[in-house]
């Protein structure tokens, strides 16, 4: 009749300890997700781009930045546009696209400008997004 190992009634206490620990873990996780489900309003992505560093490199100046999404919805195909503006004139325009900027996460990227940005203004912003 029996096709495989049977589970016996009497189990070592360590099996119960492991089982209870695991159950508490899983229940805690369910509670957390349920709390998030109950409180989470499905808002739109909130994309913020901040420049973190500038350094001269081969082929120009590398401008590092972080794009963070503080919203509760992920964004896909996010182009980050950088403008190098001197005396009110756009001298250079650079763009890089992120496949994903997940909800409540941040991604790092770099734009490379050929012109020396000293004395000029660098404007970085996310130009748009689509739903994943």
């Amino acid at each position: 009749m029996s096709k495989g190992p049977t589970t016996e009634t009497r189990a070592h206490w360590i099996e119960w300890a492991t089982g209870l620990t695991a159950t508490i873990l899983v229940v805690a996780m369910i509670g957390w997700v349920a709390y998030d489900a109950a409180t989470g309003t499905h808002a739109e992505p909130e994309l913020v781009v901040t420049i973190t560093a500038q350094r001269p490199a081969a082929g120009g100046t590398q401008v590092s930045f972080t794009i963070s999404n503080t919203g509760k919805r992920s964004a896909a195909g996010v182009p980050v546009t950088g403008l190098l503006v001197r005396d009110g004139i756009v001298k250079e325009r650079r763009e890089v696209t992120f496949d994903y900027v997940p909800a409540q996460s941040h991604e790092d990227g770099v734009l490379i400008f050929t012109e020396d940005p000293s004395g000029a203004q660098i404007d970085l912003h996310a130009s748009g997004y689509r739903d994943p």
Binding site: G4, G19, M29, V33, A34, Y100, P102, Q104, S105, E107
Partner: protein, 296 residues
Amino acid sequence: MGISLNRDETTAAGDQQRQDEANDLNDFLIGLARGLGGALLFALPMQMTMEMWALGFTMDRWRLLLLLLVTLPLLFGIARRIGFEKTFNWRDGLRDAMVAYGIGILSSAVLLSLFGLITGDMAREDLVGKIALQAVPASIGALLGRSQLGNGGEDDQDERDPAQPRTGYGTELFMMAVGALFLNLNTAPTEEMILISYLMTPWHALLTIFLSIAVMHGFVYAVSFKGGHELSDDVPRWHALIRFTMPGYAIALLISVYCLWSFGRFDGAQAMPALMAVIVLGLPGAVGAAAARLIL
């Protein structure tokens, strides 16, 4: 064995020994071939996955090293479980594990070369990384192939020995971890995993959790597959749920965390999106864990 009686004892013994050695060599070669088959069967999907190629280069080197080291005790544990348990010793286990790892590395190198993914003039870091990463699932496959691709000879008799009707609790949990890791290695590198987690709402995630637990429990207890575990009549159903299924699911989740972290999927993510990805990956992990309890 057909030794004629009129020969003297020493010749008979010598013949016997030569025969045994020939048998051993034959068994070893058959084992190698099965291992190679297993490596192909289990690792081909990953060798043909684009993200796995990229990871060979982009994966953090320390995390790759850790994965390669973790694979060693893992292979040893599998070798111990599926080998001849009664005659098992450390030397044989270590040998089986290393042979499987070797098969994994060689078969990965050959296949990746065949696909034109590795060439002589590429960066050494990329080359080694690609092969090493693929060697992990391939080596697990090689070991499983040795036990599962057999025609049900001596291996099965040993496994179904009525003197050992019940496998140890620790072994059971370990095999669940192996099963979860195996399916997770298949799925964790793909972009689809995180994409699914982006598309899901917390409500979807809750349903996924319940589905994972139900599938795990059903797989092993309710559906009477070959190798399924049957409950004694006097055991309430929830006993097995607490003692086996819940730890199994927790293990599947932990393995998911490990895989996602290894492949850098958590970098820059806060807790909630990370947890969503873990829950998504936990589903194949749970199925893998449950299947491992049945198969191995």
